[in-house]
């Protein structure tokens, strides 16, 4: 009996050893060129920086949730003791009392963002398609111009843009913001770089089957670049949502939501709570959109490099 068990134990031990040898990894570390202590040190460093990065945002959100007496408490607390949504409801009351209704501001922003983004997606994709998949005189040169234009949009061109829009008679209309947004260089750039990774054989096969360029574009290319769609939409929405457009639009009823909200922000100390609520409302939209489309954006950005 006892002999048997020792034998069994021995057998088990040998087996275990065999298994261990079998499982012994060929390369000891998961990644070459890494030290464990370095991994830990850099991890701690990264965590520290992450806390610093996120602190102002957390603070803004928590101030928006603080009741009035806690807002002016000293020393301040990071997290509210009695969280409330009063600031947000106050914000709606204030907006409701303004001469132009809240829904009108919201409509303006949504209209500008929706039309601008849709047009941008369509027009930029059309241009990107031929730039990526066909060779024609002037194509490369044009793309180079777009690449350089990514750098100085907005700052250098704002004065002549004002003059041009003035001459076109678009001052104080939505078009002053929407039409220039159609041609945002960033969108065309990212779309073209992403479309280049699409196999040319796909397009050629469709052509042999008798598809026109338009059919190729709408039926084959566009469905295959969905991640890039999302990216274009997000960058465009971010740009348009945050656009205060204060230089182009002066009628109160055509102003954007962000502009109106930031007017409230300037309302002094009595509106501290509401101002914090405004911060949260303004920043939550782009951040949420990003969170939900992160993987698609990263997929697009992987082809964002500028090659010579």
């Amino acid at each position: 009996m006892s002999k048997n068990t020792t034998k069994e134990k021995k057998a088990k031990k040998i087996q275990e050893e065999a298994v261990q040898v079998y499982h012994k990894p060929l390369i000891k570390r998961r990644k070459p060129n890494r030290s464990v202590s370095g991994d830990i040190a850099l991890g701690i460093f990264l965590a520290l920086v992450a806390v610093i990065m996120v602190f102002p945002i957390v603070y803004a959100v928590s101030s928006a949730l603080k009741p009035l007496d806690e807002l002016f408490m000293f020393p301040p607390r990071i997290f509210p003791r009695r969280p409330t949504i009063n600031n947000f409801s106050d914000l709606f009351v204030t907006m409701g009392k303004s001469w132009v209704t809240f829904s009108r501001y919201l409509f303006n922003t949504v209209f500008i963002t929706a039309v601008g983004t849709a047009g941008h997606l369509f027009i930029a994709s059309m241009g990107a398609f031929v730039l990526a998949k066909y060779q024609f005189p002037g194509g490369q040169a044009f793309f180079k111009l777009v690449t350089v234009a990514m750098m100085f949009t907005g700052m250098v061109t704002q004065i002549p843009n004002y003059i041009i829009i003035n001459k076109l008679g678009w001052i104080d209309t939505y078009w002053a913001i929407i039409i220039p947004a159609f041609a945002s260089p960033m969108g065309l750039f990212l779309m073209k770089q992403f479309m280049e990774s699409l196999p040319t054989a796909l397009i050629e096969a469709a052509k042999i089957d008798g598809a026109s360029e338009w059919t190729v574009f709408t039926k084959i290319v566009m469905p295959n670049v969905k991640p890039a769609w999302m990216t274009l939409i997000i960058f465009s929405v971010q740009g348009l949502w945050n656009n205060r457009a204060s230089t182009y639009i002066y009628s109160e009823e055509k102003k954007t939501l962000v502009f109106a909200l930031q007017q409230i922000q300037a309302g002094g100390i009595a509106r501290t709570g509401q101002a914090a609520a405004v911060l949260v409302v303004v920043m939550i939209v782009p951040i949420l959109i990003f969170v939900f489309s992160e993987s698609q954006i990263l997929e697009t950005m992987a082809s964002s490099g500028i090659k010579d």
Binding site: I57, S63, G127, M155, T157, A183, M301, I306
Partner: protein
Amino acid sequence: MANENAATKSKVSPADMSFFQKLVMMRRHNAKVALKKMKTSRNCYLFLAPYAIIFTVFFIFPVVASIFFSFTYYNLLESPKFIGLNNYISLLLEDEIFLIGIKNTLIIALVTGPLGYIMSFFFAWLINELPRWVRSVAIVVFYAPSIAGNCFVIFSVFFRGDAYGYVNAFLMNIGIIDNPVLWLTDPKWMLPICMLVILWMSLGTGFLSFVAGLQSVDPSLFEAGCIDGVKNRWQELWFITLPSMKPMLMFGAVMAITQAFGVFDVTFQLCGYPSTDYAARTIVTHVYDYGFSRFEMGYACAIATILFLLMILSYKLIEALLNRVGE
């Protein structure tokens, strides 16, 4: 006469032609080929046309117009009057506020540009090694400040000038300072605070590009490097990762230039407009001041043109620098 000439020319064999004649012939031939290509790719132009037209009107033409208007006096009401180099002369020799602006912009650009660029890459590189879900969270955390609208105004609460400002209170409590510092109204402190805020927001589109680019670097390169004698992560970074990231690095550089030279919102909202002693004035603030407060469009265009030249110059510089990475 001309026809005769052309006829005799075409009969001459290429060997007898002078260099110039050959050049002309080649050019003509190339032009013909290009024209034919253009005709066959008519559809391409049709596809590109809507974008190209809007892009030209709102992005290319304004740059040209800006250079043109910079030589004129133009106030939107009267037609532009040509005044030669006068705008530039008064900008560089008489306008002291502009010199403050250009100095501030250069300081901000030289500090936050490279630093923000390196930070973007460095954090993207560190994040890249994290497990998948931690990585997604980390990307959101690092990227959020740059898309958080004007969330940065919260810094004006931290850096308030009285003893109740958090930074002041903290520093007074631990005894580093005795009196509250007027962070956002004292010319000495405005720029550093603004740069701090800009750095906080500097992990933007370039950062995303780096994160995505790092994930697509071929992992077998690292193993090959390990065998070839790469000893630690820093050597790996310099010899393998950076060279295979060059296109993304160039894209990131474009984003960094935009952000470093275009500083406006942060100084505008944190330090006020105009700021004390113009200590937080930047080139873009100056453009805004002359363009939309005083409506001296010609003068504003001259400032914008200088900004444009600065950006193109730094773009070329970075392009040259990046070509030497990993050598």
